[in-house]
Amino acid sequence: MYRYDEFDARIVSERVSQFRGQVKRRMAGTLLEDEFKPLRLQNGVYLQLHAYMLRVAIPYGQLSGRQLRQLAIVARDYDRNYGHFTTRQNIQFNWVALKDIPDVLAKLAEVEMHAIQTSGNCIRNVTSDHYAGATKDELMDPRPWCEIIRQWSTFHPEFAFLPRKFKIAVTAAEHDRAAIRVHDIGLHIRKRGDVVGFEVHVGGGQGRTPHLATLVNEFVPEAQLLDYLEAIMRVYNRFGRRDNKYKARIKILVSELGEAEFRRLVEEEYAAQRENEKIDLPQAEIDRIHAYFAPPELAAKPDKSSAFEALKAEDTEFARWARINLHPHKTPGYTSITVSLKPIGGLAGDATDAQMMTVAHLAETYAYDDIRVSHAQNLVLPHVALDDLPDVYRELKAAGLHTANESLITDMIVCPGLDYCNLANARSIPVGQAVQEVFADPDYQEDIGRLHINISGCINACGHHHVGHIGILGVDKKGEEFYQITFGGRADEKAAIGDIAGPGLKADDVPGALKRVVDTYRELRADKGELFIETLARLGHDPFKEALYAAG
C-alpha cells in the first residue's frame, strides 16, 4: 500500500496544526460558527443530532493493521468504543468532542491518516473496488491511480469551494463494485494496445434527483488524465448551479446543458489548456506510486487446500461461510474474505474497538497486512491463503465477525437515519433490523441468493436506496414515518435507478411486505440460478408490486 514520504507526512502534520488553530480561534470566538463551518467540514467534522461527528478518510478503502488498530484506539479513547464504516469506504466517529478533534487528528497523522476533504463542497475521498489488486476479473490494479488522484485533489486551490460535494470512483474490473455510474466522475480503466487509459463517466449521483452518469470520453490516456479532470472540474466550478443546493451537483449541470453541450464545454476547456497549465506528471512519479502497490509475494500453493476442505466437510456453518463470504483471488490457493459487519439485528457498518483489533491482528498474521473497507460497509481481507481459513474463521467467530451474508438479503446498506442524523426524516436502523429478522434463517437467505436491499432515512439517499435491487426510502408524512419501496435499482456495470412501486408502507408492514415479494420471486424464478434482479427484469415489476400490497 502507499506509504507517506517526507512531503506527505509534512502536509498532513501541517493540516493538524492548521485545524488546531482554527478550533482555537473558534473557541475564542474570533472565528464565527458560519465561517468555521466550511473549514471544519473540509476536515470531516459535522455537527450531528447529538454531538460532533468526525469522518476519517480511508483512501480507496485501504488500511494496514497498524492503521486499523489506531482507529480502534480512537474509538476507545475518544468515542464510545465503536466506529461506523461508511458507503464511501471511510469511518465515522459519532461522539468525539470538538476540543479533542485536533488530538485525534494528530493520532491519525502518526499512522499516515487524515480527515482532509471528507466533507464539504470539495473533491472527496476517492473510492474503488474493495478487491483491487486481488480479484481475478480486473484489468489492472486501480489503486495507484486512486492515489495519484488523491494527491492531485488534496488542497487543490481552485476546487475547494465547488457548488457542491464531488465524488470520484475508479474501477478496473468488468464487474463494477465501485458503483462508478452513480458518482460525479466514474473512471473505468481500459487498455488500447499497450496504452492505459480511462473511460470517463460524468454526472451520476443519487440524492433527490438520481442520475446515471453520462459517458463523456471513451478513452483518456493515462498521461492526460489529470489535465482532463481539471477541465471537467473547471467547467463544473464555473457553470454549476449555486442558486439551489439541491440543484448544485454536476449531474444537474450535465442534464440541464445536455450531454452534447457538456461534452463540448469540457473538450473546449481541455483544448484551451496551455503548456504551462499541463500537469505533466513525470513517468518516474507514476512509477514510484505504482511500486507501492506491487502485489504481495504469495508463496505458490495448490488450488485446493486440504485443511480448508477438511473443515468444510465437518463444520457446516464454516462451509456456508466459505460458500458466501469468499471471493476468487487471482493467485491459486488464495482467496479474498469479506468480514461482514451486518450481523442480524446489528448496526450496519459498525465495529467495536475490540473487533477492529481482531481484524488488525488477522491482517497482520494471515493477510499480508492489507484490509479494505467495502462500499457495502463491510471489511475485506483481500489476500488470505486457503490453508489459513480455519484459523481466521475461528478468530472471526470469537469476535462475532463471522456472519455469512456477503451480498445476501441481510447484507443491507443502511444509513444512520433519524437515530443519529440531522437530515433524516425517518428511522432506518430499526426498519433494517426488522427486515433482517424476517430473513435471518441462513438457509432461507442462501436460497434467495444475491439480493441487495438498501435503506435511506431521507431523500438524500446516503443508504443508496435508488440502486438497491429493493430500495427502501423513509419519508415523513404529517409526523408519521412511511417507507417507499423501489424495485430494480443496481449499482454495478448494469447500473439502474429503481422504480417506486407505489404508496409508502408503515414501518411495521415493511418486513412482511418484503417477505411476500421475495417469496413471489422464489416461486417465479426460472431456476435457482436466476437472481431476483434478473427475474424482475424478465417478468416486469407487476407481480412483485402485487405481492408488496397483497395484505391490504
Binding site: 486551490p157 475547494a160 466550478n237 484551451a272 496551455r274
Partner: protein, 162 residues
C-alpha cells in the same frame, strides 16, 4: 478595510465606481465588466490607471485582449463559499498571462487566502483578518501537490529532483 499585498499592508488608492457613478474625477478607478464593455474606449482613453472588477458569473475571456491596459483586476467574492473566483484567477494568470495586480475583494476570510494565493491573487482586501494572520495563512503549508498559479514546485517534481 485593510488591504494586504505581498506581505505588507498598503493604502488603497483605488476606488470602485458603481455602474451609475460619475467617471469624471481623476484617480485610479475600477468598474464592472459590463461598464468596461460599454464604455471601454472612454475608460482606456483616461490618463489614470484603470481596473475592472469581476463578479462570479463574469467571463474573464472578455478581458483577454485588454490585459496589458489594466493595472488592477478585482475579483469579487460576495459569499466566500462561491468559488468561481478561483477559476477566474487561474484563467487570468495562467492562460491569459495577466501580470498586474489581482485583488480579492468582498467576503475574504483568513482561511481562504492560502487557496487564493495559489490561484494567482497577490492582494487581499479583508475586514476579517489582520496582516499577521494573512501572512500566517500564506505559510501554512510548506508543500503543494499540484501546480497552480505562482511558482511553487509541486511535490511530484520535488520528489524527482536530484
Amino acid at each position: 478595510m485593510p488591504l494586504v499585498k505581498n506581505g505588507t499592508e498598503i493604502d488603497n488608492i483605488w476606488a470602485f465606481v458603481p455602474d451609475e457613478g460619475d467617471l469624471s474625477p481623476g484617480g485610479c478607478i475600477t468598474v464592472s465588466l459590463g461598464r468596461f464593455r460599454s464604455e471601454r474606449d472612454i475608460l482606456l482613453a483616461r490618463n489614470t490607471d484603470i481596473g475592472v472588477r469581476l463578479e462570479p458569473g463574469d467571463d474573464p475571456h472578455e478581458l483577454e485582449e485588454y490585459l496589458d491596459r489594466l493595472q488592477l483586476i478585482e475579483i469579487s467574492f460576495p459569499k466566500y463559499t462561491d468559488g468561481r473566483g478561483y477559476s477566474q484567477a487561474q484563467l487570468l494568470r495562467r492562460r491569459f498571462g495577466y501580470t498586474g495586480e489581482l485583488r480579492a475583494v468582498g467576503h475574504v476570510l483568513r482561511d481562504q487566502i492560502f487557496y487564493m494565493n495559489r490561484s494567482g491573487f497577490d492582494a487581499y482586501e479583508t475586514a476579517r483578518a489582520d496582516l499577521h494572520e494573512v501572512v500566517n495563512a500564506l505559510e501554512e503549508y510548506s508543500d503543494v501537490y499540484q501546480p497552480a498559479a505562482g511558482d511553487r514546485t509541486p511535490v511530484y517534481r520535488k520528489r524527482h529532483e536530484s
